[in-house]
């Protein structure tokens, strides 16, 4: 609790303005409920893009449907606000067609693990070179409070008025076993940590998965409140080795007191690398150069 000190609005505003990250925010103000954890994520992503000097026009934010998936509208970048559950396959198309772009997929727990759950393993195993930010509030926010695949057993929602009887999935364990090459967790209530983690995820070459625990202040007054989470969430042990997958799985298994930090990272050829290898095998490397030039030429028309 050592870093708590009074922050004055003007001071904060100046810091944000000077950083240049405001440029990555659109004029549209987020439409989320006051207090929603998602606000912190917008700032973290803007800061990370800014830190890496990604030109606005070279970033593409792809989302599904949900409160979380409104995200692209709040960024000054290209974006696709697609269908419930389909951010990853759409992002696969964007990145495959133009690997020069920085592609970030975002979405909720329902979006990513209920309706879109079938896509996650494939983006991970292919090592699609994008960042996937999963906003986990353990509930369906946009549709006003139904159970999600990450809702706790016993959680009472509009569709589980006699308590949720299902057990929640463990996304971190899933992503580790699916073969994601960067797996981390952060918490919307720790903006500094979040900012660092988003930046690290973005810097990773390969499929980076950042699980962001985020309270839905409107539809969850009992489980994932800031108060509850604040007491439960811990940091990964200082000696955790992110190259140790079994160690990462062991840490991920402990979901009663979730740990934030970098669970796992490895270097592996990306989907882009694999597709380039295929082109090479087929003898199309020179042709590939022309395709890339054609792609680059398109955007300069006008």
């Amino acid at each position: 609790m050592g870093d708590i000190r009074p922050v004055y609005l003007e001071e904060k505003l100046k810091e944000v303005e000077d950083s240049g990250r405001l440029g990555y925010r659109s004029k549209a103000l987020p439409t989320w409920c006051p207090g929603c954890g998602y606000f912190a994520i917008v700032d973290a992503v803007a800061a990370a893009l800014c830190e890496q000097c990604v030109p606005y026009e070279d970033a593409v934010i792809v989302s599904g449907i949900g409160c979380s998936s409104r995200f692209p509208f709040f960024m000054n970048a290209y974006g696709m606000h697609t269908l419930h559950g389909r951010a990853l396959p759409v992002a696969t198309g964007v990145k495959t067609a133009n690997p020069a772009l920085t592609v970030v997929a975002v979405g909720g727990d329902g979006d990513g693990f209920a309706i879109g759950g079938g896509h996650v393993p494939h983006a991970a195993r292919r090592n699609l070179n994008i960042t996937y930010l999963l906003f986990d509030n353990g509930i369906y926010g946009l549709t006003k409070g139904q159970t999600s695949p990450t809702s706790a057993t016993g959680f009472r929602t509009t569709t589980s008025p006699y308590d949720n009887t299902d057990r929640p999935i463990n996304p971190l364990m899933l992503l580790l076993s699916y073969g994601a090459t960067w797996v981390g967790q952060s918490y919307a209530g720790k903006p500094e940590h979040l900012r660092r983690m988003v930046a690290a995820a973005l810097a990773h070459r390969g499929f980076s998965y950042l699980h962001i625990i985020s309270p839905c202040v409107t539809f969850d007054k009992t489980h994932r409140t800031y108060v509850n989470l604040g007491t439960k969430i811990r940091e990964l042990p200082a000696d955790h080795d992110p190259s140790d997958k079994l160690g990462a799985l062991r840490e991920a298994m402990n979901d009663s007191t979730p740990a934030i930090g970098l669970y796992f990272r490895e270097d592996r050829p990306t989907l882009d690398d694999a597709l380039d290898t295929i082109v090479e095998k087929a003898g199309g490397t020179a042709a590939r150069e022309r395709v890339i030039q054609k792609q680059a030429g398109r955007k300069t028309r006008g």
Binding site: F73, G79, M80, T92, H119, A286, R298, G302
Partner: protein, 596 residues
């Protein structure tokens, strides 16, 4: 002397029937004839089910097979007997003439041949054994026999054999021996049939004629149009589109990915389309059903994408290896909301090539999903196609916005314009940032559900497509047959148009005044053209391969005139004879008048 000869080979899966048909059509194409050819085989991968290979060789490209064959070859009498009637009078029937051991009465084909049909019974098995040491080359022997009998040069057959089997030296030797043994036997015979091959037609200047399947033609069109990306999930009868692209695209430096399902295939296609790339996916009915929601995103977000759909028997898993035209409603209307899209349906293999390339132009020009609708019959059939020296496709039909000096987040991606098409920007283009969303939006692409905005944007999405009917250098519809008033007008689409045209030609030979309208672009619907055509016709006949008459239904939603539906679901192509009978009936011809 002109050539118009149809040969059917009937046998079981173990007889090499389809392989024989393939070599035969390759040889005929090499001679220089125009070829159309379609095989029927059982759904099982292995076994002894009935296989039929049919091909028609002509001087000018035919649109369909003929109702009757000039030559019928039996490699298996039990399968061929029901098809004896298919051979015409004074046509040839070729079957195994060697000893076949004692047979139950009626199980030998010779008992079924009509007096007017000319039988030939070479000892295929014996010739195969003598020339190659095994009976397995009967199919090759019979090809040699056909060459000998009809006095055709043997070299094109040899080259077709070698190119098909890309064989090792010893196999090539055996094939050649079998072919020559058959040839010698055939050449010994004095012929009584009246089947005659004329000299092949002179070559077209400029174009190179190649024999190719419908799916291969689609691929060729896509490659010639400069396809950048393909995402797909295997399904009969569309799989070979993806398989061919998988081997071809990397040579062009472009990328293909097999996705985890059809939802991801269309999702990735649209994602790639957003970046300005030319992208496509290919599927059949079940996959198109899964794509319905995502196509709606393509419509509202106005992202170009191309979906090749090869229809098969439905609903559900239906009849995966049988042909049908029953996904038309889904292609045109499938999905939720008012989601207009372009649907084009080629009617022959050359059309597959043109549509395969033009679809990318249209997707860009009108900023919309374009569905190219084939069916198994069209995907799998072979035709000779004259390919122009230069691909007839524009490299880029995007209308890019000039966003230089544009203000951040101020770009009107969905600007309301007179022709309803908004200049677009793509990622990487400075000043053009916007969000492509499935939510109703304003000109900036920001969510907006005001009544006036939804009305304006809905109008834009519908009206912009109308220009596609006049898309440059594209035949959206075409009239054949008599000009002016006719007794019977046929309006047909997709693969069935070929049989409709053949029936119309035969009806005109009988003196019936008739015309056929080919409709390639079904959405948007060429209402005025169809209405004018029908106004000129005493009766309108709409033949198609589905139970409800889906095309007739769409037609009548646009043109309030009666039509006669000839809707069939046999899993097979429509029979020319059936369409002809219907034309006669509508023209008021009684069977007696017919005979006269």
């Amino acid at each position: 002397m002109s050539t118009d000869i149809q040969i059917a080979i009937v046998g079981s899966a173990g007889d090499g029937t389809i392989a024989a048909g393939d070599i035969l059509r390759r040889a005929m194409a090499e001679f220089g004839y125009r070829v159309i050819s379609f095989d029927v085989y059982p759904p099982e991968i292995r076994g002894f089910g009935k296989c039929i290979a049919r091909l028609r060789a002509t001087d000018e490209q035919a649109y369909s097979l003929k109702p009757q064959s000039d030559v019928l070859v039996s490699l298996d009498d039990s399968h061929a007997i029901p098809h004896v009637n298919e051979a015409r009078e004074w046509g040839a029937v070729i079957y195994e003439g060697g000893s076949v051991g004692p047979l139950a009465e009626g199980t030998h084909i010779s008992a079924h041949i009509d007096p007017g049909q000319i039988p030939y019974n070479p000892p295929l098995r014996e010739l195969s054994e003598k020339s190659t040491g095994s009976a397995r080359s009967r199919n090759i022997v019979v090809l040699g026999y056909i060459a000998g009998l009809f006095r055709l040069p043997v070299e094109p057959f040899l080259r077709a054999l070698n190119s098909k089997f890309k064989s090792k030296a010893d196999v090539a030797k055996k094939n050649e021996a079998a072919l020559r043994a058959g040839y010698e036997e055939g050449a010994r015979w004095f012929r009584l049939d009246d089947v005659a091959f004329g000299p092949p037609p002179a070559k077209d200047g400029g174009a190179t004629v190649e024999m190719i399947s419908g799916n291969a033609a689609v691929v060729r069109g896509a490659l010639d149009a400069g396809i950048d990306n393909f995402f797909g999930y295997p399904i009969t009868p569309a799989t070979s589109i993806m398989e061919r692209l998988a081997s071809e695209m990397p040579k062009h430096g472009t990328r293909l990915l097999q996705t985890e399902d059809e939802i991801s295939a269309i999702a990735a296609t649209i994602g790639a389309g957003f970046t300005g790339a030319r992208t496509a996916t290919a599927t059949s009915g079940p996959g198109l059903a899964l794509m319905a929601e995502m196509l709606g995103l393509g419509v509202i977000a106005e992202v170009p994408s191309v979906v090749f759909v090869s229809q098969r028997g439905g609903p559900s898993t239906g009849m995966p290896t049988k042909t049908e035209q029953s996904d038309l409603n889904m292609a045109v209307y499938g999905g939720h909301g008012d989601a207009p899209r372009i649907v084009i349906a080629p009617t022959n293999v050359e059309g597959c090539y043109r549509c395969g390339g033009k679809a990318f132009e249209m997707a860009e020009a009108y900023q919309t999903p374009v569905i190219v609708l084939l069916d198994l019959y069209l995907s799998n059939r072979y035709e000779t196609v004259p390919f122009p020296a230069q691909p007839p496709f524009e490299a880029d039909m995007n209308r890019y916005a000039d966003t230089r000096g544009g203000k951040a987040a101020g770009f009107k991606r969905y600007a309301l314009t007179d022709e309803h098409i908004s200049p677009r920007s793509i990622p990487g283009q400075a000043g053009g940032m916007h969000i492509a969303t499935g939510l109703e939006h304003n000109e900036l692409g920001r969510p907006n559900d005001q009544s006036a905005m939804h009305t304006a944007m809905s109008r834009k999405r519908h009206e912009k497509l109308k220009a596609a009917l006049k898309h440059p250098d594209f035949t959206a519809y075409k009239r054949f047959g008599d000009a002016g008033p006719v007794d019977v007008g046929i309006v047909a689409w997709g693969s069935t148009f070929g049989e409709a045209l053949e029936a119309m030609i035969l009806a005109r030979e009988e003196g019936i005044r008739c015309a056929a309208l080919k409709v390639v672009m079904i959405s948007p619907f060429p209402t005025e053209v169809v209405a004018a055509f029908m106004a000129d016709a005493g009766a309108t006949l709409v033949p198609e391969l589905n139970y409800q008459g889906q095309f007739a239904g769409i037609l009548q939603a646009h043109v309030a005139r009666p039509v006669t539906r000839l809707a069939r679901v046999t899993g097979e192509p429509m029979e020319v004879g059936e369409i002809l009978a219907e034309i006669r009936r509508l023209a008021g011809r009684t069977p007696a008048q017919q005979a006269a």
